[in-house]
Symmetry: C2
Subunit: 234 residues, 2 copies
């Protein structure tokens, strides 16, 4: 019988935010897989290694999954990565693919999940804590209450549409476009009274930085940067 | 020294989705608190009791926190609940308040958190898996990829605004307004091709029910019902 593919969310950075289920399945699977050329350099592997040091002895597939908007290159790398998984599953071995945050939310795992499920392999998604929840907890406040809507916006793509939304807005991966987003939000904040802007860079990681005012926010930040814009609580 | 208040997310229902941190702190805190008149009847307590049976021996504050839109009644019950927490914290005891899903997302815990932090007590939010992530995993698919926005919409309040949004929309607590929402979505789906509608009632709980077509969805469903409307993948 062919092996099963588990997409396991390892949470945002703190190894203690792994779930009991993630720990059990990572221990149980004979093979791990991570997105990256060297396992030791992938964030997901580093997080798990802190909670379960014995994974260093496990077979681990390091899958080359570049982040690119070049669709052809993307397709090719996903096909190749799936082929690597397929060979292991055909040996009857279950695989734990480790991914940051939650596998359902903007993860590269989903590309492999779809291929594996489509080819008839057994697949299962194991949830992890999403980064925006962790950032909110780090700020020691909630994201949404009562009638407020929550919007998660990948700011590397459509910024304009996100600017129109009401409720709480989370801007993901703001790094490169931070200067432009800041400028737009400055105009908006002076329009609407009572907006609250916060940002966390590298939440729960070594070079974490917390910003609690729009004015403090720099023009550039690292890839793991997340901004929360909240309406005044009613 | 006064005790500390932990708001601990216990996830959506599966006790294995508790994080290592939640388990450690629930064990470490001498006092638990749950929203509900009898601890055994609260969902959050039931989830934790399956993972950590020994909590049955712990002191536990059962806090009356009715769900109501009557602001005066709400304010009064939150003040009373906070007063109960305050008395325990003044005895130097840490409290683990157990809440379904993640404390940052539509939790009643936030009302007590704000009061405790405002009164100068030490407070900390411990993340849990949000219900919408669990529902997506249950459906064995992702929520969002690439440039898609993710919108979480509390359907007991504004339905009209949510209907206009693009990307993936999650309708929370659709129970009572389900018939109306279904009708609106039927009109919308016939307009836009390739919308995918799924719904999960009581995800991970005893009377779980999964719907994969808009037509299958009934006019009424329980409080713990969540609908996902996805755009065609591009």
């Amino acid at each position: 019988m062919a092996g099963k593919l588990y997409g396991i969310g390892v949470g945002p950075g703190d190894p203690e935010l792994l779930t009991l289920k993630a720990v059990r399945l990572i221990r149980a699977c004979p093979v791990l897989a991570v997105p990256g050329l060297r396992k030791e350099e992938t964030a997901a592997y580093q997080i798990v290694a802190q909670a379960i040091p014995e994974i260093s002895g496990k077979e681990c597939l390091a899958l080359d999954m570049p982040m690119t908007k070049d669709n052809e290159r993307l397709e090719k790398s996903h096909n190749k990565a799936f082929e690597q998984l397929r060979q292991v599953m055909e040996q009857g071995k279950d695989i734990a693919f480790l991914t940051l945050g939650d596998p359902c939310i903007y993860s590269t795992y989903l590309y492999l999940h779809r291929r594996a499920a489509g080819a008839g392999y057994e697949t299962e998604i194991i949830n992890g804590i999403p980064s925006f929840c962790a950032v909110s907890a780090k700020l020691n406040q909630g994201l949404v209450e009562k009638s407020q809507m929550l919007h998660i916006i990948p700011s590397t793509y459509g910024m304009e549409e996100g600017l129109k939304l009401s409720g709480t807005r989370v801007w993901m991966k703001t790094g490169k476009k931070l200067g432009k987003l800041k400028e737009k939000l400055q105009a908006e904040v002076s329009d609407k009274k009572g907006q609250q802007v916060s940002m966390v860079e590298n939440c729960g990681m070594k070079e974490e930085h917390i910003y609690r005012e729009l004015e403090e926010i720099p023009e550039h930040a690292s890839y793991y940067t997340l901004m929360i814009v909240k309406e005044q609580e009613r």
